[in-house]
Symmetry: C2
Subunit: 151 residues, 2 copies
């Protein structure tokens, strides 16, 4: 029986903040020996309904993905609106941002983590699902992202 808080312990994604998604995507493409993936903008605020620290934000980011077996590497180049991406990039520079887990029941999982001292930091919608970044740093020393995909 799985006793994990999230219902699984599969790290499905590592998120990486970058200043120039074209440049760093090319470096990873060379490193992995694959084609450079096309980046795309996250949805506009009317679709994404982004909330950061409890307030609506216009924040968007360029995303590019490398799929390596069960694990995905996500490159993130944020715009200048308020977001965990922009805050972390400004404060810590380029580099690691989060690990992600796929969950069922986003609201219940967010409430469960809040009760364990890991509050919601940012959330939003994307085509086919939704995400939530959890401020799990004090407990786990990394940010955790929850991903829920529509069935």
């Amino acid at each position: 029986m799985d006793k994990s808080l999230l219902g699984n312990k599969v790290i499905t994604q590592i998120g990486l903040l970058v200043n120039d998604i074209d440049q760093t995507s090319q470096k990873y493409a060379d490193f992995f020996g694959v084609e450079k993936p096309a980046w795309f903008w996250t949805d506009t605020a009317d679709i994404a309904q982004t909330e950061y620290r409890g307030e609506r934000s216009e924040a968007r980011a360029k995303l590019a993905f490398f799929d390596m077996g069960s694990l995905q590497l996500e490159l993130i180049e944020p715009d200048h609106n308020p977001s965990t991406w922009r805050e972390s990039l400004d404060q810590n520079g380029e580099g690691f941002h989060h690990i992600a887990f796929v969950v069922d029941g986003m609201k219940e999982k967010i409430a469960l983590l809040e009760a364990k001292g890991m509050p919601l930091l940012q959330k939003g919608e994307y085509t086919g699902g939704r995400y939530a970044y959890i401020d799990s740093y004090s407990e786990l020393k990394m940010l955790v992202e929850l991903l829920e995909n529509d069935k």
Copy 2:
């Protein structure tokens, strides 16, 4: 055919620096719903033959591992001797340290990465194999660790 620099693109491990390995291991054990793993010291310098920035170092660290499918989470609490662990913990605080790949032919892989602008940062031996941390930050925005296990 695999065209990657390392011969594979499987991220096998995420390394995390912590100040108190007992405390953070317990947090992850609760999060994943598993028993807290026992930590252990890396080998003494006579066995580990640790080199950091080209010089021998007495550095050791407490390590604890969580295995989640193909990916392993490594918690690292370094001692106060010079190492990439101690330097990163002092400069950046607790949190993400590296991603790791298993390789064949450690020397050749280190030379290949050096030629691509990613120099060796630290290396050492452990029972059954050896590791090398590569200063890949300028290229990949993360440190890469190579792991070679004896056959």
